[in-house]
């Protein structure tokens, strides 16, 4: 029963792509079918790779091949989660969740400096000209950077009463910070457009070149 899947793959790809695109018109029976197939495939694939990439090499092989019998405790902890369906034993599920939640906190503490600190120290920018950097450059770059950073940061103060003196300063610089935030968000929006468009261009290239172009060579040549 061996066969060459190439042509089936091309057609399946084309139909799946068009099926998903039908959602652009509105949510419809075809897109709904695609959605269910998609969810089913993703679950089947998740199950398969859970075995082949995680459990087989990291759990089954150590037990069976290397004789590390103590890995048998891993499923015991894992199956504690399933006690959530039991009324009387659900606290055992919470025990397992507690372990994961605690670890999440620990990981977050570990991530604090690698994430935050380089950004703090690289904000130490000199605010005056030097022989190698002229004033306009310093103002257009470093001054701007520091002002935007501090005003935006001041927007994220929540517990200072606005009628106090620091509160008044914060609410003023904070509203300036909000303007800067909007500029930043606009820039991020604009910066993403190209990447998103290229995804669609890639799909169109497939449809016109590899699918229709497979049968209509004029089009394939036009597309290079």
């Amino acid at each position: 029963m061996a066969f060459n899947p190439h042509i089936v793959v091309i057609w399946a790809t084309a139909l799946a792509t068009l099926g998903v695109y039908s959602v652009l018109y509105r949510e419809n029976p075809v897109s709904r079918l695609c959605e269910h197939i998609f969810v089913g495939l993703s679950l089947g694939y998740l199950l398969a790779i859970t075995w082949t990439e995680n459990l087989l090499p990291k759990w089954w092989s150590p037990i069976v091949t290397d004789g590390q019998w103590y890995w048998i405790f891993a499923p015991v902890v894992g199956f504690l989660f399933y006690f959530i369906y039991s009324r009387r034993l659900s606290w055992l599920a919470r025990l397992a969740m507690g372990l994961f939640i605690g670890t999440a906190a620990g990981q977050s503490f570990r991530g604090l400096y690698p994430l935050l600190w380089p950004q703090v120290t690289s904000s130490f920018k000199p605010l005056r000209a030097t022989p190698s950097v002229a004033w306009p450059n310093v103002i257009l770059h470093n001054w701007l950077f520091v002002i935007v950073l501090l005003t935006v940061l001041s927007y994220f103060f929540f517990s200072v009463r606005p009628e106090t003196k620091p509160g008044r300063v914060l609410s003023r610089s904070g509203s300036l910070g909000r303007w800067f935030l909007m500029i930043a968000f606009g820039a991020m929006f604009g910066n993403t457009v190209m990447a998103r468009l290229s995804l669609f261009i890639g799909r169109v290239q497939f449809l016109l070149h590899d699918w229709i172009g497979h049968y209509w060579h004029w089009l394939a040549q036009k597309m290079m």
Binding site: S42, W117, V120, L153, F158, S159, F189, T192
Partner: protein, 264 residues
């Protein structure tokens, strides 16, 4: 690999100071010191958003993002429990779609507990906390399918979102749902702003539960966070001052040593 593989003594000390500020502030608030929380625009609309679903007699969809059990997603669940308690009192259904099987039991447990805490456990339906898909885009399409079939009146998006965010919100908007979104990571905020009615930006996300519940523990924590941010600003200003004074000059020995410790 990098400079921040492990903390050195100075960074450890700094971490201890930051943590102590937050914990101390929490303990103070728990003892009864009242803490102020300023108005946060996106969050004052939460009850209105739930109310809309109640009025229309339609359910609410809540997406906790793609995260597994991590801090961002735990905060999303914390917001979720608040919403469930509020909606349960008005007998409005909330459907939760998760993208991670490990998160699913945690979400189920917090939702069930939220129902129990307001005495509406009879309203809890196990099938309302669902696993949609572990794949980013299957999750997006699956969630859109839920919104379409259940005709949700309000959609909440709180958690870790990536490229799929715009697929969710643009469709939710097309279905005419009122949408509120919040995400600590800035990359998807522009798209939330473009497509949602209310957006919670950056740290407002972590302030949300304090703002909504006014629980002393949380408002205390918020005040502690502000203190830590003030400390960060002070540090940055100090750093800027130092490099400005020294611009074009050689660093003195002690400063170079300090900067090494700080990982500059």
């Amino acid at each position: 690999m990098g400079k921040f593989d492990h903390a050195n003594w100075l960074l450890t000390l700094l971490f201890a100071v930051m943590s102590a500020a937050i914990v101390a502030s929490v303990l103070l608030a728990q003892r009864g010191r009242s803490m102020f929380v300023r108005r946060i625009p996106g969050l004052s609309a939460m009850e209105e958003a739930v109310g809309r679903a109640t009025e229309m007699g339609r359910p609410i969809y809540f997406s906790p993002g793609l995260g597994s059990i991590d801090i961002t997603t735990l905060q999303a669940l914390s917001i979720l429990t608040y919403l469930v308690r509020f909606a349960a009192q008005q007998a409005t259904r909330i459907i939760v779609g998760t993208a991670d099987p490990t998160l699913l039991p945690v979400a189920e447990e917090s939702v069930r507990e939220a129902y129990t805490s307001v005495g509406r456990q009879a309203l809890y339906r196990a099938e309302d906390v669902r696993f949609v898909s572990g794949d980013q885009f299957a999750y997006a399409l699956g969630s859109v399918g839920i919104m379409a079939r259940e005709q949700t009146a309000t959609n909440f998006y709180f958690g870790a979102f990536f490229a799929e965010a715009l697929i969710l919100t643009e469709n939710g908007r097309a279905f005419g749902a009122l949408q509120v979104a919040g995400c600590p990571d800035p990359t998807q905020i522009p798209f939330f702003i473009a497509t949602c009615d209310y957006v919670v930006i950056g740290d407002e996300y972590y302030a949300a539960s304090a703002y909504l519940t006014r629980e002393p523990t949380l408002t205390g924590s918020l005040a502690g966070q502000d203190a830590v941010k003030a400390l960060l600003i002070a540090l940055i200003l100090l750093g800027i001052g130092t490099v400005t004074v020294l611009a074009g000059h050689a660093q003195p020995h002690w400063l170079a040593k300090l900067f090494t410790l700080l990982g500059v």
